[in-house]
């Protein structure tokens, strides 16, 4: 916008074009305050950075940009180096009532890191130190901005591992593991990120820096650490965490199996879990996924439900666990495909996420991962499949899925919808996308599933929080109002 102002200087009147808008005065004042906290080198307001930080790994903003449409960008991108700097940023943000969006790797798939109201992107990757590796207590304490794979490589140097292997490890941060209650490939044995965390340091929205107790299991009152697990930044910013670690296993055994039908395969997985055979991984692809993704990525042309099962640890124990599992598989009529296809899956398990073999634009796609008790697993799967396929048949929607994380009481389902020829117009595409999600989530919630298992809620699924929690969501809203009265922490996310 060009502003014209009448000015009189040395008796001469003239009309002059101004260089800056009125808002830019305030913008620069706030920028200076932020700069004093983090240093000039660690703040950017430049266009290219704002563009790149305007989107995360979720389909909605990526599609929007792909169609040549601009997104709301952050006003400031700051890189704090200490929790004290995070606290100081929060004080400034409260003063001016500016949104703050914590940013780790930007690898979330739900739009949880989008700056939909502008504001401050607080990228924590500068806080990336390993503070302690305690080999006696088998734990690592690190700042929350450390990259997942870098942390893992450091631990591996000592023969240790943080057994949280998400597909996003190369880009996600430790804080990003925890904020959406993430799950890794071998969670079936080692647990989700929330099971691996022992304690955390969090900067609250008012700038207070708190630490949770050093150990996770105690009876010293309620476990408030859980409040920040799954909060995706709406309750505060995780700045440090202590995680349990394990020794790198002496052996890892993998096998692949083929089931004629999904029911028998799910039952096989259930029996392994309820008999406590402690599998590292059970990855069960439905027939649709077996025929498409397994074929495209691993090169196996198979009909049925493809399963990879793994055991790790001491050689003799893993071998015995595998033997007992094989007895179960045999009872249920599975065909043993041998080690090679299981090991190949392990070696290439992340290839599914690399371009150009990943799901990618201009396709429309989404992963409606959910979790339920065993008695509801098939009910949810078929309800989602039927609802999505029938409602969006005109769009030739494909519905595929796999079962990736197993518990003593149930399993997580990772279902995907794919529309290869979505509307070209960005608005039409976004609306269709959101309608498909509504269909999938409704089918899940109505049949015993949850909104999500490990990808979190973000912007995309916030509208379902009250539907899942009912009046209990009031409790969460009251907590949010109490600790973030200005509503500046990652607004619009997780239903807040």
């Amino acid at each position: 916008m060009t502003y014209y102002i009448n000015s009189e200087l040395n008796g001469k009147k003239k009309v002059q074009s101004s260089k800056y808008t009125p808002d830019q005065f305030q913008f620069e004042m706030i920028r200076s305050e932020l700069e004093e906290v983090v240093g000039q080198k660690h703040i950017t307001t430049e266009g290219p950075a704002k563009l790149v930080y305007s989107n995360d790994w979720s389909w909605m903003p990526q599609m929007w940009l792909d169609r040549g449409q601009p997104l709301k960008t952050p006003d400031y991108i700051v890189h704090p180096g200490t929790p004290e700097q995070v606290a100081a940023i929060m004080k400034i943000a409260n003063t001016y009532k500016i949104p703050v969006i914590p940013w780790g790797g930007g690898s979330g798939t739900q739009g949880g890191a989008l700056s939909i109201f502008g504001g401050i992107i607080m990228d924590v990757k500068r806080m990336n130190r390993i503070l302690e590796i305690d080999e006696q207590s088998m734990s690592v304490t690190a700042e929350a901005g450390i990259n997942g794979s870098q942390l893992e490589m450091r631990l591996n140097e000592k023969g240790l591992t943080l057994p949280h292997y998400p597909a996003s490890a190369n880009c996600a941060t430790l804080g990003g593991y925890l904020a959406p209650r993430g799950t890794g490939t071998i969670s079936t044995k080692y647990g989700k990120s929330e099971d691996l965390v022992m304690s955390m340091e969090v900067v609250l929205p008012d700038g207070s820096i708190i630490e949770t107790p050093r150990v996770p299991d105690h009876a010293s009152g309620p476990d408030y650490m859980g409040l920040f697990l799954g909060s995706e930044g709406v309750f505060g910013t995780i700045t440090k965490a202590t995680m349990q670690v394990d020794y790198l296993p002496e052996t890892r055994l993998f096998r692949a199996l083929l089931f004629d039908d999904l029911t028998a395969a799910i039952e096989a997985g259930r029996r392994l879990m309820v008999r406590r055979l402690d599998p590292t991984v059970i990855r069960l692809y439905d027939p649709g996924s077996t025929a498409s993704r397994v074929k495209d990525i691993l090169g196996y042309k198979l009909e049925g439900a493809y399963m990879v099962v793994g055991f790790d640890g001491d050689k003799d124990i893993a071998a015995l666990q595998e033997k007992k599992a094989m007895d179960i598989f045999k009872e249920l009529g599975a065909k043993d495909l041998g080690r090679e296809p299981g090991e190949k899956w392990w070696d290439h398990r992340y290839d599914f996420y690399y371009p150009p073999t990943n799901l990618k634009l201009p396709w429309m796609y989404g992963t409606a991962d959910t979790v339920m008790r065993y008695k509801d697993v098939e009910k949810v799967y078929y309800a989602q499949k039927k609802a999505v396929e029938q409602t969006y048949g005109d769009w030739n929607v494909k519905f595929i899925g796999h079962f990736s994380h197993w518990f003593h009481w149930g399993a997580a389902m990772y279902t995907r919808f794919i529309i290869e020829n979505p509307p070209e117009d960005a608005r039409d595409a976004l609306r269709l996308h959101n309608r498909v999600w509504n269909t999938a989530i409704t089918a899940s919630l109505d049949n015993g599933g949850t909104i999500n298992e490990h990808h979190g809620i973000g912007l995309k699924l916030g509208r379902y929080m009250r539907r899942q929690y009912g009046e209990a969501f009031d409790l969460l809203e009251n907590i949010k109002g109490a600790i973030d009265p200005n509503g500046i922490m990652n607004p619009g996310k997780v239903g807040f």
Binding site: A49, I77, C171
Partner: protein, 364 residues
């Protein structure tokens, strides 16, 4: 590959984050925009009219080190460095290149040398084996070329020298000076052909990568298929292992390490050779650095040293800091450019940097 096809790689990389953990610039800046997907997104966005190439965006695009980490770690081998080079080439062609790049272009026109303005020397004769010297060795590590010749002579090889003082084209091509790089490459090929050599020895993984990959993939130039490109380090390691060469073993009292030079990650088959040389020549406590082999990032010996010197310096310091954290007192490397940069900052960390070729030659 056409420049447009090269740019198409950004369509795959713009939303992929799978190589982020090993991008040295991303690790240094912690800035999403200054990482592989950030650069890819900028190029892809410019093609969609969402970004203009202005001072800020051009500056950001030129902060990629062209180190090859992203491509080397990509499961599907996306050639993102070539895409960034292609985008920079378009900027150069449209007169939008940064001033530093324009100056380099002028320097190359005058001398074919990026560092000291000297004119390259003609081939030293004819023979079956040629050794490409380039413009880095004499500039960064005076005496290194003579050390290499002494080592080779010890194995019975007396190569013809070509390209002494001439840049190999890697850095210019990465900076978007494609036509200059093609001129450099053609001049070197002409020299090579005039010698009649069928083996081309090179002094660094960067040069090896240039002749085997940059020429065909970025410049559309093919070496004569009869010519085999061999790194001197690999040749010497083979000679050591076969017993055709030996050196007097030297004992080191403090911890020491080999530092994989710039572009090593682009030639993974070379990781063993320098370590063989190290273990043959030195005894004591040799440790492996954390940033080693396939994760050995850039040490700043790239185009960044011309366009963003502070950043290049930080990358060099970062690698030395890694050696310091490991308690290493002496670092060895053979690539002259890597050696030169490390040596420039070594004193700050109390670390001695030694040129591997010169050390080996001294122990013959």
């Amino acid at each position: 590959m056409t420049q447009t096809n090269a740019l198409d790689t950004t369509e795959n990389c713009r939303y992929c984050l799978m190589c982020r953990h090993l991008c040295p610039v991303g690790n240094l800046t912690h800035n999403e925009a200054l990482s592989p997907h950030g650069w890819a997104q900028m190029v892809a966005s410019e093609r969609r009219g969402l970004l203009e190439w202005n001072e800020q965006s051009i500056d950001a695009l030129y902060k990629c080190a062209d180190c090859g980490q992203c491509e080397s770690h990509c499961v599907t081998d996306q050639p993102l460095p070539n895409a960034i080079a292609a985008a920079r080439t378009l900027l150069v062609e449209n007169g939008k290149a940064p001033e530093e790049v324009k100056q380099l272009a002028e320097m190359l026109t005058a001398s074919s040398n990026l560092y000291n303005g000297q004119v390259s020397q003609p081939p030293s004769g004819k023979g079956d084996i040629a050794l490409f010297i380039g413009d880095e060795a004499d500039h960064f590590a005076p005496g290194a070329v003579e050390a290499v010749l002494k080592l080779l002579k010890n194995t019975g090889i007396e190569p013809v020298l070509i390209g002494r003082g001439r840049n190999d084209g890697l850095i210019p091509s990465g900076l978007g000076l494609r036509s200059k790089s093609i001129e450099l490459a053609n001049a070197t090929i002409e020299d090579l052909e005039s010698t009649g050599a069928t083996t081309l020895l090179v002094l660094s993984p960067g040069a090896f990568f240039t002749f085997t990959r940059i020429y065909p993939e970025r410049l559309n130039i093919e070496l004569d298929p009869k010519v085999e490109v061999v790194e001197v380090t690999s040749l010497l390691a083979d000679k050591m292992e076969s017993g055709d060469m030996s050196v007097n073993k030297t004992s080191l009292t403090d911890k020491f390490a080999y530092m994989d030079p710039e572009h090593s990650v682009r030639v993974p088959s070379r990781f063993a050779a320098p370590r063989t040389l190290m273990d043959t020549a030195f005894e004591g406590e040799r440790v492996e650095l954390f940033w080693r082999k396939e994760r050995s990032g850039s040490g700043g010996a790239t185009g960044l040293q011309f366009t963003h010197k502070d950043m290049a310096d930080d990358l060099t310091r970062f690698r030395l800091a890694g050696a310091g954290e490991a308690g290493v007192k002496t670092v060895f490397t053979e690539d002259s450019a890597t050696f030169g940069r490390l040596n420039q900052f070594a004193g700050h960390n109390g670390i001695e940097v030694r040129n591997l070729y010169q050390s080996l030659a001294g122990q013959l």
